[in-house]
């Protein structure tokens, strides 16, 4: 079995457009949440959203590349460029080696809507243009980035709802561990636009605390009233240890455990047993006990039942050792398809810099969340090993355990 290490990370999100900006936001507990009035204007129940600026890629990528990219592929281009740079992976390396790409993504909305609008109006599919099909497919991020970076290894998208990004890293870990690939660009991407979460808003799942956008995402707090949708992209470069050492790559962490499960229950109501099984599997895979986890980056999205059930699952396994916990979604909002990857990036930044980012907006826990050791302030703390939880619709669960490289 190969050991699987992280040699580069990159991030483009509502709390920063690169690793430095994001580190600063995590340290200061800065929120990236605001209001999108356009959503209110077209009938959203909640206009709350993570604010993510669209990158300007004209002059960086040619027209053909740009025409085929939806917004979240642009985010992913930014985070991947940063991660490749950190990993010291050059264009020559990509050209000479079988490097793969696995990204988590579960929607690509505007191009689908625009295409239908054009065809309905003109009654002529020729008016749709050339980029639409490539922008609208679920695999849009991996298909675009694999062409831009001229990758030659495995190439597909993982769709696992709000655990997509985590599963993508888990799949990359398994493929490298078992010797099928040596280097894989893993990550997650999430679009942020007027149409992509309208059907989610329909469920009434979003926070209505519009008068205080920065306080709206409040995981584990007694007064939490729903999640705040957000987005961006995060990249995690996985490599087998021997290859990384051979090329003198910077090694910033090691993936030691991946656990997954399905609740087998309800399409939207999260379970307790499913997450317990996924966390237990990750610990078993890592070959460590619960007491070895220094920090848990919780999935906690700020929904009443979701946070409660995760708290109960965590308490079942970690009740006797009580590791420090925070949900970075309190600052970022719920980055959905990207969250599993971005939260590995956030936690890795914390591990590299020996601090735990705060769970902001936690004023008073409820009867279940009070059992957890949740930090409301930034803690100076050495993290040797962390657990990142990600759960999604349909009861898909993914848990990753990352350790400092020794």
């Amino acid at each position: 079995m190969n050991r699987v290490v992280i040699t580069g990370i990159g991030i483009y999100s509502s709390i920063g457009k690169n690793l430095e900006e994001v580190k600063d936001s995590l340290l200061k507990g800065r929120s990236g949440i605001g209001i999108d009035q356009a959503r209110k204007d077209i009938g959203f129940q909640s206009g709350l959203t993570g604010k993510v600026e669209r990158p300007q890629l004209k002059g960086i990528l040619d027209r053909r590349a740009r025409v085929c990219m939806p917004q979240h592929a642009e985010f992913a281009y930014m985070s991947t460029t940063e991660a490749l740079k950190q990993a010291a992976i050059t264009h020559e390396f990509l050209h000479q080696n079988e490097v793969g790409i696995l990204f988590g993504n579960d929607s690509s909305t505007p191009a689908v809507i625009e295409c239908v609008d054009i065809v309905r109006k003109t009654k002529d599919t020729r008016m749709v243009g050339s980029g639409s099909v490539f922008q609208s497919m679920n695999s849009s991020v991996t298909m675009n980035l694999s062409v831009i970076f001229q990758l030659k290894g495995i190439n597909f998208t993982v769709s696992g709802a709000c655990a997509s990004g985590s599963h993508a890293i888990g799949m990359g870990y398994l493929l490298i561990r078992h010797g099928y690939q040596k280097t894989i660009i893993c990550g997650g991407a999430q679009e942020v636009n007027l149409f992509c979460v309208g059907s989610f808003d329909a469920l009434g799942a979003f926070s209505k605390r519009e008068s205080e956008p920065e306080k709206a995402s409040r995981p584990f707090d007694k007064t939490r009233d729903g999640l705040v949708p957000s987005g961006g992209a995060a990249t995690v470069i996985l490599e087998d240890l021997d290859s990384a050492l051979r090329r003198g790559a910077p090694i910033i962490g090691e993936v030691i455990g991946y656990g997954f499960s399905s609740d087998g229950m309800h399409i939207s109501v999260p379970d307790i047993d499913g997450p317990i099984r996924a966390i237990s599997m990750a610990l078993k895979d890592a070959g460590i006990g619960a007491e070895k986890i220094d920090y848990i980056n919780a999935h906690a999205t700020s929904t009443p039942l979701g946070d409660q059930n995760e708290a109960r699952a965590i308490d079942t396994i970690f009740g006797s050792c009580k590791p420090v916990i925070s949900s970075t979604k309190s600052m970022t909002g719920h980055e959905m398809w990207m969250a599993g990857a971005s939260e590995v990036v956030y936690s890795t930044i914390m591990m590299q810099n020996s601090f735990v980012a705060p769970n902001i907006n936690l004023v008073e826990p409820d009867e279940f969340t009070c059992k957890l050791n949740i930090t409301r302030v930034t803690l100076q703390k050495n993290i040797d090993t962390f657990l990142s939880n990600s759960f999604g619709f349909g009861g898909t669960n993914s848990c990753l355990i990352i350790k400092k490289f020794h």
Binding site: R63, V67, R126, M127, G129, S130
Partner: protein, 82 residues
């Protein structure tokens, strides 16, 4: 629309939308070999021609358009038949 206007409109679209260097644009420029356009770009050219000139470029007719001059002529001739 005059032939001059057609040339001016097409050239400016190629420069602005397709980011083609002005210096390589000439009537005898080959769309693929000189301007670097590929089959997917012709899909977008058809959209632009429809929007700008109200003309529908048909796939089978597009295959005979190889140079910029061919494109100018095609649009001009369509106008004459209108």
């Amino acid at each position: 629309m005059t032939r001059e206007n057609i040339v001016k409109t097409i050239n400016s679209l190629l420069i602005e939308e397709f980011e083609i260097e002005e210096s390589v644009i000439s009537p005898d420029a080959h769309l693929k070999d000189d301007l670097g356009l590929e089959s997917l770009d012709f899909v977008d050219i058809a959209v632009i021609v429809q929007k700008e000139f109200g003309l529908t470029l048909k796939g089978e007719e597009m295959t005979s358009i190889r140079t910029l001059q061919n494109l100018y002529d095609y649009i001009y001739n369509c106008y004459q038949k209108k």
